[in-house]
């Protein structure tokens, strides 16, 4: 039996809900919350319900700007992406219920989150680079609005920085897409593969097209040396938005496309990364790992440190994608999902800390463990998972990445990836001992734990991390490996 995954519904349902949100909010502001959460929860459950089906031949109705719907087989990668998008968006929307804002703006807020989620589903559903580009831009526009939502000076600045620094990226992407069109007569992933495998294809032309596009997507992914916008945008955005941005937006807008490019490269370079674009991806990935981690060590602000940590962790994903072996790609996808869980949990916790204490400046915090035990516990789990300490989920994805790099003959990159974990751990325990560990200073003695609803998403995410940590095939065998196999 062939199962078809209704991509169109995954995009249309949140988009329609977004349209309805402002009207619902007019009746009662809370209706917008309920609507957004219901739409996202239903989407997540539907996406999860396809997991048992992936053993069978899976047909995906994918969205293609030129021809409307088109059908592709066994693309579990897109399903994995959909699940990640819905998971993080649902956590953000659920957390927003408790986020303070004027009642009149709840409708717009939820609509923006839904638009963002719908656009990211569009990215996952796209089957050509032009469609992908369009949805990436929709995601970006929704993100600008969300970052600047609170109308503070810093958040406007962050949003503008994001806008101005990623606008050239869009130019690069369009340029790449145009060149692709010129060269191969189409923009779909299939065309790219064809162009690369056909005998007439010169390596340099393909390398230039892919290189130009990769540059654009690296900016969107916030990789070093294009990372200038990320710390400011993450720090100044309203707290739940930072979770959305770091957890899934940079991945949908940048990393996903980079992995797609890496997949296209596999067509002509099946063994390992012998090509210029793959080399460049690995180089910038490794650079991001190190620079991001070093940058994080010097941060004094909780959210800013998390932003640098995101840069570093995205570096792992891109490094593995650049290596391009099936195992490395599996590791990249696995880490992509894991990073979404732990970084979302950490940003939501930073939001809880900000709400309860009024600051994210680590010099003014300390000893919150006694006052906010659940926030501290889930943060610790997320931190250890990020640093790749077993038995948590992050360990397994990093292990697979490192094993894959080693097997592909890239020992030096493997060593960088391993020892960057010490740096990751260093900045995180620094942060942990400044915020949670230690004795509670007097001015924080009256801080109380966040509300149960705000704690729920981090607790669930921490449970996911522990469950995958103790039994990693839970995700690996069900989703990641089939996705990586389907590429072959």
């Amino acid at each position: 039996m062939v199962t078809s995954l209704p991509y169109f519904a995954f995009i249309a349902v949140p988009a329609l809900a977004a349209l309805a949100c402002p009207f619902a909010a007019r009746i009662k502001p809370r209706y917008a919350d309920i609507l957004a959460n219901t739409a996202l929860a239903v989407g997540l459950l539907t996406a999860l319900s396809f997991i048992p089906e992936i053993a069978k031949p899976l047909t995906l109705q994918a969205w293609n700007m030129g021809t409307g719907l088109s059908v592709f087989n066994n693309d579990v990668f897109s399903l994995l992406m959909l699940i990640t998008v819905y998971m993080v968006a649902l956590c953000t929307a659920f957390y927003s219920i408790f986020h303070e804002m004027p009642d009149g703006r709840r409708g717009v807020w939820n609509a923006l989150i839904l638009v963002c989620a719908a656009a990211m589903c569009g990215v996952a559903a796209a089957r050509d680079f032009f469609t992908l580009y369009v949805f990436v831009e929709v995601t970006a526009v929704a993100s600008y609005a969300l970052i600047a939502f609170e109308d503070r000076r810093e958040s406007t600045e962050g949003a503008l920085k994001y806008f101005f620094l990623t606008a050239p990226a869009s130019t690069f992407i369009v340029l790449g897409v145009a060149l692709l069109m010129l060269y191969t007569g189409g923009t779909s992933f299939g065309h790219l593969a064809q162009a690369m495998s056909s005998s007439g294809a010169g390596d340099s032309a393909v390398a230039i097209i892919l290189g130009v596009m990769a540059c654009g997507f690296m900016v969107k992914a916030g990789l070093v040396p294009f990372h200038g916008w990320t710390p400011d945008a993450y720090q100044s955005a309203p707290a739940p938005v930072s979770a959305l941005l770091s957890g899934v937006v940079t991945k949908a807008a940048g990393v996903y496309a980079l992995i797609r490019i890496a997949l296209a490269l596999r067509v002509i370079y099946p063994a390992h990364a012998a090509n210029a674009v793959g080399q460049a991806l690995m180089f910038f990935g490794a650079l991001s790992i190190v620079i991001g981690a070093l940058g994080a060590v010097y941060q004094r602000d909780f959210k800013r440190m998390l932003a640098f940590s995101s840069i570093s962790q995205v570096g792992y994903i891109v490094l593995a994608a650049g290596a391009g072996t099936p195992l490395a790609l599996a590791g990249a996808l696995f880490h992509l999902f894991n990073h979404a869980t732990f970084k979302t949990a950490l940003f939501l916790n930073s939001a809880a800390v900000e709400k309860q204490t009024g600051t994210t400046d680590m010099r003014k915090l300390g000893g919150l463990e006694a006052r906010m035990p659940w926030t501290a516990l889930t943060s610790n789990i997320a931190i250890l998972s990020t640093a790749g300490i077993p038995p948590l989920s992050g360990f397994w994805s990093k292990l697979i990445i490192i094993v894959a790099l080693w097997k592909a003959g890239l020992q030096s990159y493997a060593a960088i990836a391993i020892f960057a974990s010490v740096l990751t751990l260093a900045y995180f325990i620094l942060m942990q001992s400044r915020v949670f560990f230690g004795k509670t200073p007097e001015h924080l003695a009256k801080v109380s734990e966040a509300r149960a609803g705000m704690l729920l998403p981090p607790i669930l995410l921490a449970a996911v991390m522990i469950a995958i940590g103790f039994y990693f095939p839970l995700l690996f065998s069900n989703l990641v490996e089939p996705a990586a196999k389907a590429f072959l």
Partner: protein
């Protein structure tokens, strides 16, 4: 899944403390004192289950349990002579330490977390001991690192946090070296299952990386400084780290990988012997001039670990059997010393031995127990420590390199000197002004604490008198497992 009786105990000895540790906070929420009782129950059960496993192994049954995972990362638990022995040693000492904690920890804040982490620690140790897959050894290895981080920082002061972070970073750095070694074995030999690696050779790079990991965990010379610093932890925790679990992980991993599985080149053996000898000597010297009682005992651990490496790296039967016996004897005696130090600190409110003196009259049981354990560590016959030290030296002597043996003999003399110094300064000697006031109030500690140290002191003596049984077992062990030892 079909589980035979003995395999059930094997699974239980790992799973019950690991998952039970998550129940302790729930028990702590339910009623205030249930947490410590549950922890004691779990500790005692782990010891019982480990003993059952040992009995099955001694009867010659094959005891194993296995969970298939992708990429050959199977969780493979196997009990053989070596792992069953180590499991019983660690779990028995841990159970005594948990019993001791009942008197030491309860009055203080955060005790639920304490009991939970200690139990998790014990479970991770059991997992590490019985794992036959290097990846899973690494997983459990790192769980112990997390646990030691939380426990060393238990008091949450500025200094404690620094030391806890240092402990964590140093051991994780070493662990990542170990991971790099494991991955290079995986790439070169295609497997990380120790049963398949038996008799194989592994790349030199992997050997170096594994050794770095082992040295960092066992606090051997280049990485030794975290261990004395970790003394800021509560005394039962330091006892746990030094005697039962943490530093013994390194030597166990060495025995498991290099004595029981792959052939170690004699060049590497000499390298290990040299490092261990330097480590024994330097830390012995440090123990001589230190005045903080817990730091002295910590330096003593570093130096005694050197002796264990001496026996293991000698690569002959008598040396390896001696080293394993050393793990047992040193574990019992060192746990006793730290727990005594805990009682002294608890009562005299200082760790500085220059401010103590004449405490013998105030706490006779503690003093006698301390003495018994100290004699065992020094290696005075007929205490247990004598036999292990003797066997280790005999093994080393037949390996060659008389220079290294001399190095260790000096180390042994140093042990004698610094432990006598501590005993004299604390229990005998003149009563110092500060100690008079402290000593006047200082009487014996709660019954759990005194009973624990008395038990450990008695064990140190009894294990020496009845040394035939463990040493016979270890002789069988050395002929049963592993590569052919001369």
């Amino acid at each position: 899944m079909n589980i035979s009786g003995s395999s059930f105990w094997l699974l239980a000895v790992v799973a019950i403390p690991v998952f039970g540790s998550f129940l302790i906070p729930l028990a702590g929420l339910a009623a205030r004192k249930t947490d410590k009782h549950l922890a004691l129950l779990l500790g005692a059960f782990t010891f019982f289950a480990a003993s059952m496993v040992l009995l099955s192994v001694a009867r010659g049954e094959a005891v194993s349990w296995h969970l298939s995972l992708p990429l050959a990362f199977d969780l493979q638990l196997d009990a053989d002579y070596l792992s069953a022995f180590m499991g019983v040693v660690s779990s028995s000492i841990s159970a005594i330490i948990i019993y001791y904690s009942q008197g030491y920890i309860t009055a203080q804040r955060g005790h639920t977390e304490y009991y939970s982490i200690v139990t998790l620690f014990l479970g991770a140790m059991m997992g590490l001991v019985y794992s036959m897959n290097l990846i899973w050894m690494f997983v459990f290895w790192e769980i112990t690192a997390i646990c030691s981080w939380r426990l060393v920082g238990y008091y949450r002061g500025e200094k404690e946090l620094q030391k806890a972070n240092k402990t964590f970073l140093v051991t994780v750095f070493g662990a990542l070296c170990l991971l790099l070694g494991i991955i290079s074995i995986y790439a070169a030999n295609g497997t990380v299952d120790l049963r398949h690696l038996k008799g194989e050779t592994i790349p030199d790079f992997a050997v170096l990386m594994l050794l770095l990991g082992i040295f960092s965990k066992s606090a051997t010379l280049p990485f030794s400084t975290w261990l004395p610093d970790a003394g800021v932890a509560p005394s039962p925790v330091t006892a746990l780290l030094h005697a039962a679990v943490l530093v013994k992980i390194g030597v166990y991993a060495f025995a498991r990988i290099f004595c029981a599985t792959v052939q170690l080149d004699p060049v590497w053996s000499t390298f290990v012997l040299f490092i261990a000898g330097m480590s024994a000597l330097v830390s012995g010297g440090a123990a001589l001039i230190e005045t903080d009682i817990k730091r002295i005992i910590a330096y003593s651990t570093i130096s005694q670990i050197g002796f264990i490496f001496l026996g293991l790296a000698a690569m002959n039967r008598i040396g390896v059997a001696g080293a394993l016996l050393y793990i047992l004897m040193h574990g019992v005696a060192k746990a006793g010393l730290f727990l005594c130090a805990g009682i002294i600190e608890h009562k005299a409110h200082t760790k500085d031995i220059t401010k103590m003196g004449g405490l013998f009259t105030a706490m006779p049981v503690t003093a006698v127990s301390f003495g018994l354990c100290a004699f065992s560590v020094m290696g005075i016959p007929p205490f247990g420590g004598f036999f292990s030290k003797f066997m280790v030296f005999r093994g080393a002597a037949s390996f060659g390199h008389p220079g290294i043996v001399v190095l260790f003999l000096i180390g042994a003399v140093l042990t004698l000197v610094y432990l006598l110094r501590v005993f004299y300064a604390v229990f005998l000697g003149p009563q110092r002004p500060l100690a008079v006031t402290a000593g006047a109030r200082a009487h014996e500690a709660p019954v759990q604490m005194v009973a624990s140290v008395a038990l450990l002191g008695t064990l140190s003596l009894l294990l020496g008198i009845f040394v035939y049984y463990p040493s016979h077992y270890l002789e069988v062990l050395c002929s049963q497992i592993g590569i052919i030892l001369p």
